[in-house]
Symmetry: C2
Subunit: 721 residues, 2 copies
């Protein structure tokens, strides 16, 4: 990772030299076809760049018929953008020339920088230091280049041979190789690109910079990002949260599984965050995450052309049963719901469909359905207030021309305020019909799963976009009291707080804990138990043993002083038997809370993303069924409710089979208080309330067991991009 | 659904007239291009059918230059196969002609039969009755046709325009529309087809018949089925279990979700089974199930060309980091494991890879890697005993030709006894390289997810194929005692057995239940409790109330006669308050079993698939987290262990965090006993042991609560296909 840099960041405006240059130089241009330096020149010329291209070559007189110059400084013209593909050790000299020449922006294609280790990282830092001082924006190093289809610009400053069609998509890729695939796939599926930037090592221009650029560019209507790491995740969250209210952001984030994340960390020199943190970040930022590039494109094709669905109720209109069933399955598998069609819709369909047709959704018009039936059926289901989106499935039988059906689908979709997607399977005239649909702004897919996937992501975008901003509510908390309580336990190394300090900290933030007394002897335990009316829990207190129950350190259902004395002795004996007698600091004699639905709330820290807050269901369930939801701290009220709603076991909270449940508002309140605690007291590195149980005889929850780990807070995060 | 048919089924051999005809007639041939009758004739001719084609047309003299005849009986030649596409009401007359002409087989393309309702179903039954009597096999009706690429046959008796390349795949589709897409996709991805049959309504020839046909056809090496329903699921299971030991069977079964299943039932006239039953059936049959047609082909491409992997440990060799990470993620997401490479492999790679390369799996050779590096790296990881399969990822940079890399991958894969898969992304020469790989038997994919998906399915096939056949173990059970216990409760309507009968039935099959006494009054309850040493549970007994706890019908921790009397009164009062006093038949006073890890075992009945047995974890977990595994009754010992292993919460059984667990063998024993019980006593329609708990102070499990529902058994299943 690069050290922090003091030079101020240039402003967003300066990306114009990069994305709308009026002249381009290629440093490292080559006369040998098949080399990167030759391909870039050829791609610039063949895409029809709207300005002069200057190949820079030490000796050649011309390349691709263009007059060459030995160095940047020799060119008798201003240069907005210089693409650099000289060997690594020559890059800094080119940078100095670029500074002297007052070049507007650099695209450094050359590899061998931070991605290769310390020496490369040092070189990259020096590159950034010099260019930042001079106010030159840099893309890369270790990238594929930059591309724009904007009329009058038509820039292909990459070594990828594909120049995609013009369209509303702005795209950034952290991997050049994936970028090649993206451009290729865009052309294959006919999806138009506005601008594409391969950001490589992100030494200067980052995905965040591009998001801010595209936020204000009306030609960029859907933003696609391929990410492997976040340079500054919290800045990303802030920008994306704002931008995604206006424009959908669709992300593929690699390294999502533990195995993948390990690969990512050995790949770019940035640490890839654990996936829980990524998922939390993207959800909070309102970003749609897809698993694959194909899904990303399927989703972009929908979002770029059709209205955002207002809900998840889908109608399927088909002329073939099998594909209709497949589409139904795919929808249900992605959380979409097959709309229940209204009696009016039923009547409208019955008016023109043959008796053999199936009018229940999916509407199977059978193979004989002519093109006009598609138009009428689509109009009918689009008019149904219980329908949020429509998938038209068509398998050309011999009798009906795909072209005519395509026109009918286009006609029906025109003016509709609900999305219409087409799925054309088979071969008879499907290519022509698909092209027609695409040209008229109806996304078209060749198997029934893709439209379902795209629609599910679009529904999610709609939900994320529509949710209220929310707020961090006012809470009566006492940060000073919490800081005092942890003060004397702070050290450079993480330290678990003793029970009294835990109780004090939680008390300062209004989180209830059971009444408890610390006892250092069997007699003290007996004394403590005598003051508690109901049954007690007697629990080991130890600074060195993290999991009390693993060593037999918990005795439940202790009633009265004698039993407490016995429990103390039993715990001491068990530790003795394990050779851990010295680890016993005493026991906690605690009022025992009646069993109920167990929840947990906790805080952990991600090395890249910072503090995360979690809510989960059931002590055991969390470990075995992983029923837990994460967000980045701080969370707002809407986040807390969302987290709870995401739990698969949420029905338990509402009381299953008449059993007592858990007050969701009380659980949300605990989440918000713990989030505030962590935000106020950054010395807390880990916190577990596990389990929380409904408080006996009262509203709210009580943290039956609580642990807090603290350490001297590190200096505030360096500002990086 | 058709009524049962008494005529005996013809034997497997008779499919020869269908799949290897020496002459074909097309009844309903048409002179008008673009009609089904014209397309079939044209497709037959254009595919180069190896025998005469006879168009049958009432008046035309020739079609497509072929001499026409007015009726089948007029043709001056024997006819092996007649394809019928006349209007529905003319089909039976054609059938009579076919019988008179001694045609070998019919393909009835015409629709309008069982799929459209009762009248169509009656017509279909008559068609089957007549042809079965005459020994003529029939494909369809309502189908796309039959296709074979076999040299000397080259039959395209379909109205689909695509004739796929020759290859090892035999394929059957229940949907004509999906069949069109399958043929098209096969050609698009270069996957060779041996035979293809669109079975339509399956009036005679079924998927089961085709499985048996292909079992003995050495040219059919991978069997693909698109299914919407099972005509005879248990026959399918028996055939598939046998065939899949030799040849992989890959299935897409539509209607997998509840919404989809509802669509399926309105589609074909067959009831589609619930997905749990389908999943159980396919697992027991050793069949690989994929979600989509694309996945089916991705998997088939691997299984048709490469060895079956012996395990799930994958090595990834790449020249680009991003796609390597994507492949890693995709593998991990599908349950594959990134192999830990041995020190020997590490040394072998280090010997020729540059220092910038990443030698940890995924092996990132970086963009400069030449083709020979692929051959050496693949050889190194293939030689590693910790590697079961290899994915080679290649994104053509400018400097390395895709063709050369393809050759290197082919060379490395040759002779390897582990599967090698290729992923080629981007555009530079990828089409040519992909064709080369395919021609040499290396499956190739254009995004990193597909090879991971294919490999995961192939691993699953390997596991299913390798598992022992298993057996139903000998158990000391007493069917007669169980039947007697049930006898007097049997009625036409399903009836829940009273507790004493439940205990008797379970006792006869060696399933333990707690000691319990039925009490009809508070005094009887007190008397019963006085005989139990520890705490008791007092539970409502009612023939009409299914869920006791919903009405406050369970009191736990009852100690001594007075408490039992009070518990009886409390339950009676709660029922009284709900106006249910008359529903109370008494209470059960039961020794209370200490808390522990709860499991459930149950039996239910699927209308299509028959009895299913389930095992799950935790009373609550089963309902909320749906952690449950199903099989069809009867299960073998291997099935029982597999079922338990499939539970996500299985770690709880082994004792999480030092907590007591559950003996897996004891749980498997209960599964086997309940399976045997259901197999022996088909009068049982539902059975729940919920929860099972570890038996106090002894090995094995005890069914703390048990319910059994019986009714007079229906007549044995009709034999259908």
């Amino acid at each position: 990772m690069s050290p922090p840099l003091a030079t101020p960041l240039p402003t967003r405006r300066s990306l114009d030299a990069l994305l709308r240059p009026r002249s381009v130089a290629v440093v490292g241009a080559s006369t040998r076809a098949g080399t990167i330096g030759a391909e870039i020149v050829r791609n610039l010329v063949e895409a029809g760049f709207g300005g002069p291209v200057y190949p820079i070559h030490p000796t050649a007189r011309s390349i691709h018929s263009l007059r060459c110059w030995p160095r940047l400084v020799d060119v008798p013209d201003t240069i907005d953008l210089a693409v650099v593909s000289v060997p690594r050790d020559g890059v800094l000299a080119v940078v100095d020339d670029a500074i002297a020449k007052k070049v507007g922006a650099l695209v450094v294609v050359t590899a061998g920088f931070a991605e290769t280790g310390a020496a490369g990282a040092a070189l990259q830092d020096e590159l950034v230091r010099r260019t930042r001082k001079a106010g030159i924006r840099v893309v890369g190093p270790n990238c594929l280049g930059v591309l724009s289809t904007e009329p009058g610009v038509r820039l292909n400053a990459t070594f990828a041979p594909t120049f995609p069609p013009r369209g509303p998509i702005a795209c950034s890729s952290q991997s050049g190789a994936v970028g090649v695939a993206v451009l290729d796939h865009a052309r294959a599926v006919g999806l138009g690109i506005h601008q594409f930037v391969s950001v490589g090592n992100k030494a200067d221009v980052s995905g965040n910079d591009l998001l801010e650029q595209w936020e204000h560019d009306p030609d960029a209507r859907v933003l696609l990002l391929y990410l492997e790491s976040f340079g500054n995740p919290r800045r990303f969250a802030a920008i994306a949260r704002r931008v995604s209210r206006d424009k959908p952001i669709v992300v593929v984030k690699s390294g999502r599984t533990p195995a993948g994340a390990s690969a990512a960390s050995s790949h770019t020199g940035n640490l890839a965050g654990a996936d829980a943190a990524v998922e939390a970040l993207l959800t909070q930022a309102g970003v749609v995450r897809t698993t694959t590039i194909e899904e990303m494109f399927a989703t972009a094709a929908l979002l770029a052309t059709q209205p955002v669905p207002r809900g998840n109720r889908v109608a399927i209109v088909t002329n073939a049963g099998g594909p209709g069933i497949m589409a139904t399955d795919a929808c249900a598998g992605r959380g979409l719901v097959l709309a229940r069609l209204s009696p009016d819709t039923d009547a409208a369909l019955r008016a023109f469909l043959p008796p053999e047709a199936s009018l229940r959704n999916p509407v199977d018009m059978i193979a004989s359905a002519p093109a006009p039936s598609y138009e009428r059926a689509l109009a009918a289901v689009l008019a149904d207030p219980g329908v949020d989106a429509v998938i038209a499935v068509f398998v050309p039988p011999v009798v009906t021309a795909a072209r005519d059906v395509a026109k009918a689908v286009v006609a029906a979709s025109r003016g509709a305020d609900k999305p219409v997607l087409a799925c054309l399977m088979g071969a008879f005239g499907v290519a022509e019909a698909s092209a027609l649909l695409r040209a008229q702004g109806v996304p078209v897919y060749s198997f029934p799963e893709a439209p379902a996937v795209a629609l599910a992501h679009a529904v999610r975008y709609g939900v994320l976009r529509a949710r209220p901003t929310g707020a961090e509510p006012a809470l009566a908390v006492d940060p000073q009291r919490a800081r005092v309580a942890i003060g004397r336990h702070l050290a450079a190394e993480p330290t678990w707080l003793p029970p009294d300090a835990v109780a004090e900290v939680l008390g300062a933030y209004g989180v209830r804990v059971p009444r408890a007394t610390l006892a250092h002897s069997a007699d003290e335990a007996a004394e403590a138990a005598s003051k508690i009316a109901g049954p007690c829990a007697v629990k080991l207190v130890s600074a060195s043993i993290a999991h009390k129950s693993d060593v037999g350190g918990v005795v439940l259902d202790v009633r009265g002083p004698d039993a407490a004395r016995a429990a103390f002795a039993a715990i001491a004996a068990r530790l003795e038997a394990r050779g851990l007698a010295a680890a016993m600091d005493g026991v906690l004699v605690q009022e025992q809370v009646a069993a109920g639905v167990e929840t947990i709330v906790g805080v952990t820290e991600d090395p890249t993303f910072g503090p995360l807050i979690a809510v989960g269901l059931g002590g055991v369930a969390v470990e075995v069924w992983r029923d837990v939801s994460f967000r980045l701290v701080p969370v707002r009220d809407v986040d807390a409710s969302e987290m709870i709603g995401e739990l698969r076991g949420a029905p338990l909270l509402d009381g299953l089979r008449g059993a007592p449940g858990v007050d969701r508002a009380a659980l949300a309140d605990v989440i918000l208080r713990i989030s505030r605690l962590r935000a106020d007291v950054p010395e807390i590195v880990e916190l577990d309330l596990n389990p929380l149980l409904p408080a006996p005889g009262g509203p709210g929850l009580i943290a039956v067991d609580a642990r807090i780990c603290v350490r001297v807070a590190p200096p505030a995060d360096r500002v990086t991009r």
